[in-house]
């Protein structure tokens, strides 16, 4: 084929769409930094925005800012609020990208990170952890997070095994197996909760999610899973676009569909499991953030995935801010706030845009 002319019309429009999305990526990154600073400033002790910024900047390498604040303030910012904000951001980002991955892989708008057993597996693990009369710590995981993490992975692995037919993994079978196993585990969890006596409050609070126990040590434990998983998913973004055709066409365009499913399921499940094991099964973010991003910026996974990461992080930091400040000193479980804050905004987006989104 000779390439005698430069294409103008479609590639031009195509490129201008890309430019807008690249600018949005940069804008959202800046917004994320601002939101982190904002969320660290607000709390029971009000710290001026400039001071927070100063403390945060001072921690960066090669930046030296003359200290104008008390050490106590620095401790509040760096050791109490910042880990909480960072963990909220990480979890929001993880749930959003995992949700986008499942939706893309299953070509199903109702998919969310908990569809194939992660949430109920983690819940069962955590509830068992609450009921055991012992406590220990392995590889930085406390007992409850460890059991939640193992429960999530075990449940997903079981669903995967059950759904395999020969050498293939039919998506519908996978979803149905996930729904069925989740129902089974869910009822076990319900039974354990009602027979848990005085531990019931703690368990329910955990299930609805909270960042109140956030520490730097937790971040160092979950970070590797999240970074590796997210990187793997983003590498496959273009191929995930091709998967939006049906599986047969994707194969005929050179995609090893079964291998892709295995890799992406493993990556998305791992980051979801790592996230929920420390903070509980926070709902809504994983299903709605990807759709909101799709509504605003379109369905190209090369932009959808990173934009979902940033939007998810910002959304979760802000909702956690609401959760800990609105009724302070009482904290509202984050799972309650995500839907109260997010659903109206999502419905607004849905009404505004009339064309197909999925």
């Amino acid at each position: 084929m000779t390439l005698n002319q430069t294409p103008t019309l479609p590639a031009g429009t195509y490129l201008s769409g890309r430019r807008t999305r690249i600018l949005s990526l940069l804008g959202l990154s800046a917004a994320l930094v601002a939101v982190i600073a904002l969320a660290t400033s607000i709390g029971s002790v009000q710290i001026p925005f400039s001071t927070t910024f100063g403390i945060l900047l001072d921690k960066l390498p090669f930046v030296d800012i003359t200290q104008t604040w008390q050490n106590v303030i620095a401790t509040i910012v760096l050791d109490i609020r910042l880990p909480r904000v960072i963990l909220a951001g990480l979890v929001g980002a993880s749930l959003a990208i995992a949700g986008a991955t499942y939706q893309g892989l299953f070509r199903n708008p109702l998919a969310d990170p908990y569809l194939i057993g992660v949430a109920q597996g983690a819940s069962l693990g955590a509830v068992i952890g609450f009921l055991l009369p012992v406590a220990w710590n392995i590889a930085g995981f406390g007992l409850i997070p460890l059991l939640a993490f193992c429960g999530a992975l075990l449940a997903t692995a079981t669903v995967y095994m059950l759904a395999r037919v020969g050498k293939t993994l039919p998506v519908t079978t996978l979803i149905l197996a996930g729904v069925a196993l989740s129902a089974l585990l869910g009822s076990i969890v319900s039974y354990l909760i009602i027979s848990s006596g005085d531990k019931m409050h703690g368990i329910i609070f955990w299930l609805m999610g909270s960042f109140s126990m956030s520490q730097w040590s937790e971040i160092t434990v979950v970070l590797p899973y999240i970074v590796v998983g997210t990187a793997v998913i983003i590498i496959f973004a273009r191929i995930l676009n091709v998967m939006q055709l049906d599986e047969e066409q994707a194969q005929q365009l050179g995609v090893n569909v079964e291998k892709l499913k295995l890799i992406l399921l493993a990556a998305a499940t791992l980051i979801t499991a790592a996230s929920v094991s420390f903070v509980g099964t926070i709902g809504f973010v994983g299903i709605i953030i990807p759709h909101a991003v799709r509504l605003i910026w379109g369905a190209d996974h090369r932009f959808l995935l990173p934009l979902a990461v940033l939007t998810g992080a910002i959304f979760m930091i802000l909702t956690d801010l609401v959760a800990r400040t609105v009724l302070a000193p009482t904290e509202i479980p984050i799972g309650v706030i995500t839907a109260i804050c997010g659903a109206p905004f999502f419905l607004y987006l849905l009404r505004r845009r009339k064309k197909a989104i999925f």
Binding site: P10, R238, I239, N256
Partner: protein, 266 residues
């Protein structure tokens, strides 16, 4: 240049054979038509030659290599497929769908560049789909989507093309245009082309060779004149005395007459 070959291949789903003991060959520069009644297995042969399904027995060779040993991405650089009118994701534009044809040529860490855009744009011009470039595919008609899929297979730049009912949704003018284009590419670029065609007249006009499939076997094979005969059409389709000779080019032409025998086959 690539040759497609099936050696005594049995194909089926869940061990129910759809086709048994099939041997066929498509050589470079040749346009071969697959004809046969509904459900005779035309699409199954196309799926097997693009390794969407694996043969239960026998061997499928692409470029003299066993298809089961060719990595999928490499195979997609050799064999391109125009599927039978699929549902396309409504969130992509026509240009983006055509551009997906570049997928097998791109590594995991690569993205489409200027050259890929130019290839996609040219294929859209050739197939008359350039005006649709920025439209979302859920707004397009069946015929427009068919043309897009043909543009996509051109973008794939393969040496062999498999087409499953490429003209089923096209008006008569577009049918001619698209088949002319495929025929031209086939002879000019020495492509091996295998097309499942429902319309016997189109098959007779455009294909160098026809394979008539019936009851799990290749019933007849040869030039259109050898395959489309009164006897074969009656045996396979149950339609009697309907083969005529085209007044201009002398190729066989099927016209349904007054009498159609409803009982199929033997």
């Amino acid at each position: 240049m690539i040759e497609l070959e099936m050696q005594k291949v049995t194909l089926g789903y869940d061990h129910h054979p759809v086709l048994e003991d099939i041997s066929l060959k498509v050589t470079p520069g040749e346009m071969v038509g697959l004809i046969g009644p509904n459900g005779s297995g035309k699409s199954t042969i196309i799926k097997a030659l693009s390794h969407v399904i694996s043969p239960e027995s026998g061997k499928i060779l692409v470029d003299k290599r066993d298809i089961t040993h060719i990595p999928r991405r490499e195979l997609a650089c050799m064999v391109g497929v125009v599927p039978q009118l699929p549902l396309l994701p409504s969130t992509f534009t026509a240009f983006e769908i055509v551009l997906m044809g570049r997928n097998p040529h791109l590594g995991l860490f690569q993205s489409e560049g200027k050259r890929d855009w130019a290839i996609a744009w040219q294929a859209m011009e050739k197939t008359g789909t350039d005006e649709l470039a920025n439209r979302y595919v859920n707004e397009l008609s069946g015929g427009e989507i068919q043309c897009l899929l043909i543009a996509r297979v051109l973008v794939q730049e393969t040496k062999a093309i498999l087409l499953d009912e490429p003209t089923a949704n096209l008006d008569i003018g577009r049918q001619g245009e698209i088949l002319d284009l495929i025929k031209k590419l086939c002879t000019q670029n020495n492509l091996a082309v295998l097309a499942a065609v429902h319309d016997l007249n189109m098959a007779a006009q455009y294909c160098d060779r026809l394979l008539l499939i019936n009851e799990r076997h290749i019933y007849a094979e040869g030039t259109p004149r050898e395959v489309i005969t009164d006897r074969n059409i009656k045996e396979v389709y149950g339609a009697e005395n309907c083969v005529y000779t085209h007044p201009v080019n002398g190729l066989p032409t099927v016209l349904l007459g007054a009498h159609i025998n409803k009982t199929n086959g033997k």
